[in-house]
C-alpha cells in the first residue's frame, strides 16, 4: 500500500476529507488539502499496491505483450471494479441494448470511450494534451445560443490554470498558445519550453500554413502550432519569477532515475515507458509524503449515505483481496467532507445507485464527450511517421468563431503515430505485408518503412453540447461481480455536432489536396460508431472525455453542483472532475478539470477552517 493503513484503522480515523478515486482530480485535491494540514483518505476501486516503478512496469509489460493495444490493454481484467474497454464495443442493432460488457450500451450510438480504474485513474492511459479552454467556450449560450454557460468565466479560472500547468508539468511556449482569446499574465511562462515539433509537423506546416478555410461566414487561415503537453521538456529558467522548474520524473520508491525528459517514444497512450508524461501517481506520491494522505486500493465505494440533516453521513465500501475472486469485506468510512472524484460515469453511477439523483434530477444527464472524426492517407514523401511523442502539433484555427451558432467547433491533431488509431498500424501493416504480400527479408523491411513513414492521420476533435437525453442510468438487472449496479449509457450525436463532422470531412479533403495526400479514409458501415448524416456515412470515435453528468450551474433546480463543484443538495459533498463541466469546447478536459480541482481544494479549505470553534473557558 502507498501508506501503511488498513481498513480497520481507516474506519477508526476521523478524516477531514474522504476522496473517492485516485485519478487526477482526487490526487490534486488530496495533495492540496494535505499540504494545508488536513487529513485525507483516498479510496480507489482498482488495484495498486505501491507507487513504485516496479508496479508501473508490470502495467507496461502487460501492454507490450497485449495483442490488441487499446488504451486499457495495460490493465488486468478485474470483475470487481470493471471498466469499459474499446474492443468490447459492438455495432448495435436498433432497439437491442448490448449488455455483454461492463458499460451497457443502450444506443442508438455505441460509444467506444473508456476510463481506467487503477491507482492513478485515467491519467494511466491519457495522451497528455494540456489545453486551456477558450474564453468563448465558457459562454456557449450567451455567445452562440448553444448549450449552456458556465457560472464562472475564463478569468476566474486563469490562476487555477497556472496551478494545473505546474502540477501537470506542462511544456509549451506562451507565444504559441496565445490565440482566440486565451490570455496569460504579462510575465507568465510555462514550466517547461515547448517540445520540439516532429519532422512530420514541419512538412505539414510547410504545405498547410496560410491555407484559408471557410466555416460559414468565418474565414480562417491555417497555422500549424505546437501543442501544450504534460510531458517533460527543457525547463524554462524564467518560470516562477526566475526560480525555474524541476521536472518530475518517474515515481519511484527506490530512486530510479528516469523520465526527466520525453524521449520521443510513440506509445504515450497508454503509458510512457519512462514516465516523462504526467500521471496522477506523481501527485499522489507528493501527497503521501506529507504524511497526511492515506490510500486504500481495491476498495470500492458502494453506497453514499445521507443523514436527516441532508449531509453525507458515511460511505460504505467493499474491499476485495484479489481481482480473481469476488470475496470481499464491507464497512463504512466517515469524514467531515466527502469528495467524489471517480470520473463522470462512476460518480453518476454511484450517486444513482445510492438513490441520490439530486433535486434537479440531473445526475447522469447532459453526458458529453468529444466526437472524433479520423481521416488518413499517404503523404507523397517520407515524413518519419512513428517518431514520438504521439502528437506534437495541431490546428487551433477551427475552434473559434461565429460559425459556432450553426455547427460545432473542432480542433485538429496531427498524429505522429500514423494510422494506429483507425487501422491498428503498424501491426496491421506488418501482418498484411507478410501474409498477403508475401514480403520477407530486406524487401519486407523496406516496404514496412516505406508504407509507415509516409502515413498521415488527422483527428478532428469536435465539440458536443450537453443534452439531457444523453445520460448514464442504472438498472437493477445489471450488476457487477460485487453486486454493484453497472452504468447504462444512452447516447446520440446531436445534429449540431454531426454538421461539424461533415464540415471536418470537407476540410480534411481540402487539406489533403493541398498536401498531395492520397486519401485512404474509409468508414465501414459494419464498424461500431458508424453514423449516417445527410446521406454520408462516418465512423465517429469517442474521445474518452466523459463530462457533464453532475453539471455545474447557478441554481439547484437546473444543475447538480455550484461553481465550487459542491452539491447543491448536500453541503459536505463535492462532485469533482469533468462531470461538473457545462461545456467541453475543443479542449481535452484534463487541464480544465485539474484547474477546477485546485479551485475546489481552496473552497474546501476555507469551509473546513472557518467552522466555528468551541472555546472552553479555563
Amino acid at each position: 500500500m502507498p501508506a501503511p493503513i488498513d481498513h480497520a484503522a481507516a474506519a477508526r480515523t476521523d478524516y477531514d476529507v474522504l476522496v473517492v478515486g485516485s485519478g487526477v482530480s482526487g490526487a490534486i485535491i488530496a495533495r492540496s488539502l494535505a499540504e494545508r494540514g488536513l487529513q485525507v483518505l483516498i479510496v480507489e476501486a482498482g488495484p495498486g499496491e505501491e507507487l513504485s516503478v516496479a508496479e508501473y512496469e508490470t502495467h507496461l509489460t502487460r501492454f507490450y505483450g497485449a495483442a490488441a493495444k487499446d488504451n486499457n490493454s495495460a490493465y488486468e481484467v478485474n470483475p470487481n471494479a470493471p471498466m469499459p474497454r474499446s474492443p468490447d464495443v459492438r455495432r448495435l442493432q436498433a432497439g437491442h441494448p448490448d449488455s455483454t460488457s461492463y458499460l451497457i450500451q443502450n444506443g442508438p450510438y455505441e460509444m467506444d470511450s473508456t476510463y481506467t480504474r487503477v491507482l492513478g485513474g485515467t491519467t494511466m492511459h491519457w495522451e497528455g494534451k494540456a489545453l486551456r479552454m477558450l474564453p468563448e467556450d465558457f459562454q456557449m449560450r450567451t455567445r452562440f445560443g448553444q448549450g449552456r454557460d458556465w457560472p464562472i468565466a475564463y478569468d476566474d479560472l486563469e490562476l487555477y490554470y497556472q496551478q494545473a500547468e505546474r502540477e501537470l508539468g506542462v511544456s509549451a511556449d506562451v507565444a504559441d498558445q496565445t490565440f482566440y482569446g486565451i490570455t496569460f499574465p504579462p510575465d507568465y511562462v510555462f514550466p517547461m519550453h515547448s517540445l520540439p515539433q516532429s519532422y512530420l509537423d514541419t512538412i505539414i506546416a510547410r504545405d498547410l500554413d496560410g491555407t484559408v478555410v471557410q466555416l460559414e461566414e468565418t474565414e480562417r487561415t491555417i497555422l500549424v502550432r505546437p501543442t501544450a503537453q504534460s510531458r517533460n521538456s527543457i525547463p524554462n529558467p524564467a518560470y516562477d519569477g526566475g526560480k525555474g522548474y524541476v521536472p518530475v520524473g518517474a515515481v519511484s520508491t527506490h530512486q530510479v532515475d528516469q523520465g526527466d525528459r520525453c524521449q520521443g517514444n510513440i506509445n504515450c497512450v497508454p503509458l510512457c515507458p519512462v514516465q516523462a508524461k504526467y500521471s496522477a501517481r506523481k501527485t499522489l506520491s507528493f501527497g503521501v509524503r506529507t504524511g497526511r494522505v492515506d490510500i486504500l486500493t481495491q476498495t470500492v465505494a458502494s453506497q453514499v449515505h445521507v443523514g436527516a440533516d441532508g449531509q453525507v453521513s458515511h460511505v460504505d465500501y467493499q474491499a476485495y483481496g484479489s481481482t480473481t475472486s469476488p470475496e470481499h469485506v464491507t464497512g463504512s468510512l466517515r469524514a467531515t467532507t466527502y469528495v467524489l472524484a471517480a470520473n463522470p460515469v462512476e460518480n453518476a453511477r454511484l450517486l444513482l445507485a445510492s438513490g441520490l439523483p439530486s433535486s434537479s434530477g440531473l445526475v447522469g444527464r447532459n453526458l458529453m464527450d468529444h466526437a472524433y472524426l479520423l481521416t488518413w492517407g499517404l503523404l507523397p514523401e517520407v515524413a518519419g511517421t512513428m517518431r514520438g511523442s504521439q502528437c506534437t502539433s495541431g490546428i487551433e484555427d477551427l475552434r473559434s468563431g461565429d460559425f459556432r451558432t450553426r455547427h460545432a467547433a473542432m480542433r485538429v491533431s496531427i498524429h505522429n503515430d500514423g494510422w494506429s488509431w483507425p487501422t491498428g498500424s503498424p501491426y496491421t501493416d506488418l501482418i498484411e505485408l507478410v501474409d498477403d504480400a508475401n514480403a520477407y527479408g530486406t524487401a519486407l523491411r523496406r516496404r514496412v518503412a516505406d508504407r509507415i513513414s509516409r502515413q498521415l492521420m488527422l483527428s478532428f476533435m469536435i465539440d458536443l453540447p450537453p443534452e439531457p437525453s444523453n445520460r448514464i442510468t442504472v438498472d437493477g438487472r445489471y450488476v457487477d461481480a460485487l453486486g454493484n449496479l453497472r452504468p447504462v449509457l444512452s447516447y446520440s450525436l446531436p445534429d449540431y455536432t454531426m454538421d461539424a463532422v461533415a464540415v471536418s470531412r470537407r476540410v480534411s479533403r481540402q487539406l489533403f489536396q493541398r498536401l498531395g495526400v492520397e486519401d485512404r479514409t474509409h468508414y465501414d458501415p459494419l464498424d461500431p460508431g458508424f453514423v449516417s448524416h445527410q446521406g454520408d456515412g462516418y465512423v465517429i470515435r469517442g474521445g474518452n472525455h466523459w463530462s457533464g453528468t453532475h453539471i455545474m450551474g447557478t441554481a439547484s433546480h437546473d444543475s447538480v453542483v455550484d461553481s465550487h463543484q459542491r452539491s447543491w443538495d448536500h453541503q459536505n459533498l463535492y462532485l469533482v472532475g469533468s462531470g461538473s463541466m457545462p461545456s467541453i469546447g475543443t479542449s481535452n478536459t484534463t487541464l480544465t478539470l485539474a484547474a477546477l480541482s485546485f479551485r475546489t481544494a481552496d473552497h474546501i479549505v476555507s469551509e473546513l477552517t472557518t467552522r466555528p470553534s468551541v472555546t472552553i473557558e479555563g
Binding site: E57, P235, H254, Q255, V256, D257, Q258, R261, Q263
Partner: protein, 356 residues
C-alpha cells in the same frame, strides 16, 4: 600510475582529465553487465545498474564542467581515452581490474570495488604505496612522486577538492578563467539523481565535486547522501544481499523490500570483448565494427558538446539509444566456434570512415 599532488593549474587540469577518463572507464563495464541481462528478466537489478551508469554520465559531465571552468579543454576522442579492458582504474587503484563482463556475482563484486567508500582521512593517508602494476592504465603525467596511488575514487576527488581550494586561495577568481558558455547547464543535461551544476567559481566547483563523491562512494561513510540518495556502493550491495536499503538502515543490513535477482537469466557474453575476437568477415564482425564506429562518433559528439556546443547533448541522446540497440543485437549472437559464449560490443571508439 602516479599523479603528483596538485600544485599548479596544469596539475589540476591533468587531474580533471583523469577524472573524466575515470568516470567514463566505469561506463562500458556497467553497460555490458546491463545489456547482458535477458530482456524483462532481472528488472530490479537492471534498474540498479542503469541508475549508476546514468549517474556516472552525470559525473563525467560535471568533471567536464570543472575542467572547462579552470580553462581546460575536454577531449574524449583521444585514442588513449577509452581503456583497453581488462584495465585498472585511471586513478591508480591497482588492486583490482575492471572488465566488460556479463552480469554475475563476480561482476558485482568488481563494481563494489569501483565504488568502494573512501577509508582515509586527510592528506597523504589517502594514498597507498604499492608496486606499479604492468597492467596499469597510465595517462601521460609527470611522475614527480612515484608509486602513490589512491585507494578509492572518493579519495582521488578529495585531492581535486583540496587542490582547487589551494589554487583558489593562491590565485583568487582568476582560477575560474573558463568561458561560461562552455558550461553544460540544466537545459541540456538531465537525469542523474541530482541537478547538473554549472561551474563558475569556487563554491559551484565544490558543489559539483560534492555531487560526484556523495553519489558515488558516500565520502564520509553514510549510505545515503544529503538528498537522501543511496550511494552507488550500497546500490550494488543490494544485489548481493537480495534486499533494498531503506532510510534508517545500517550499512550491510538492508531491511527494505526483497530484490529478486536471477543470476542465470543472462547472456554469457565473452569477457573483455576485443576487436581481435571478430576476425572472421561476416555479419557479426560488421555489427561489432558498426558498434565501435557508433561509439567513436558518440565520443566525438560529446567532445564537441563539452567544447562550447552543449546543445549537441540533445542528439547525443539519440546516439545512446542507437548504441544500446546495436549492443543488444550483438549480445544475442553466439560466438562462432566458441560454444556457450556470446559476442559483446567493443567500446573502442573506432574512427569514422573517411569519405573521399
Amino acid at each position: 600510475m602516479s599523479l603528483r599532488r596538485i600544485a599548479t593549474v596544469e596539475d589540476l587540469q591533468q587531474y580533471l582529465h583523469v577524472a573524466m577518463q575515470l568516470e567514463h572507464a566505469t561506463i562500458p563495464p556497467y553497460l555490458t553487465a546491463l545489456y547482458s541481462m535477458h530482456p524483462t528478466a532481472n528488472a530490479d537489478a537492471y534498474r540498479v545498474i542503469r541508475v549508476v551508469a546514468v549517474e556516472e554520465m552525470l559525473h563525467l559531465t560535471l568533471s567536464a564542467n570543472i575542467l572547462n571552468a579552470v580553462g581546460g579543454t575536454p577531449d574524449l576522442s583521444a585514442n588513449s581515452f577509452v581503456p583497453v579492458y581488462p584495465a585498472r582504474l585511471p586513478d591508480g587503484e591497482d588492486d583490482f581490474e575492471v572488465g566488460t563482463r556479463a552480469f554475475s556475482r563476480d561482476t558485482i563484486e568488481t563494481f563494489l570495488k569501483i565504488e568502494r567508500p573512501a577509508v582515509a582521512g586527510e592528506d597523504d593517508s589517502r594514498f597507498v604505496s604499492r608496486d606499479r602494476s604492468a597492467g596499469a592504465l597510465l595517462p601521460a603525467v609527470d611522475a614527480h612522486e612515484d608509486s602513490l596511488h589512491f585507494f578509492s575514487i572518493g579519495e582521488f576527488y578529495a585531492e581535486i577538492g583540496e587542490g582547487l581550494e589551494r589554487l583558489h586561495h593562491e590565485m583568487g577568481e582568476g582560477l575560474f578563467c573558463g568561458d561560461p558558455a562552455r558550461q553544460v547547464g540544466p537545459a541540456y543535461y538531465y537525469s542523474g539523481g541530482a541537478a547538473i551544476v554549472e561551474v563558475t567559481d569556487a563554491s559551484s566547483a565544490a558543489a559539483a565535486l560534492r555531487v560526484i563523491s556523495e553519489q558515488g562512494e558516500g565520502l564520509g561513510g553514510g549510505i545515503f547522501d544529503e538528498e537522501g540518495e543511496l550511494a552507488h556502493y550500497y546500490r550494488f550491495q543490494q544485489l548481493l544481499l537480495g534486499r533494498h536499503y531503506q532510510p534508517g538502515d545500517e550499512a550491510g543490513s538492508p531491511t527494505g523490500p526483497a530484490l529478486d535477482v536471477d543470476w542465470d537469466a543472462v547472456y554469457p557474453v565473452v569477457p573483455d570483448s576485443a576487436l581481435d575476437h571478430y576476425t572472421e568477415p561476416g555479419e557479426l564482425q560488421d555489427a561489432v565494427t558498426a558498434f565501435s564506429r557508433a561509439y567513436g562518433d558518440f565520443l566525438t559528439r560529446l567532445t564537441e558538446a563539452f567544447n562550447g556546443r552543449p546543445d549537441l547533448l540533445l542528439p547525443a541522446v539519440v546516439d545512446m539509444f542507437h548504441i544500446r540497440d546495436l549492443a543488444s543485437q550483438i549480445i544475442r549472437n553466439p560466438m562462432p566456434g566458441r560454444p556457450g559464449v556470446n559476442a559483446a560490443p567493443v567500446f573502442r571508439g573506432l574512427a569514422p570512415v573517411e569519405v573521399a
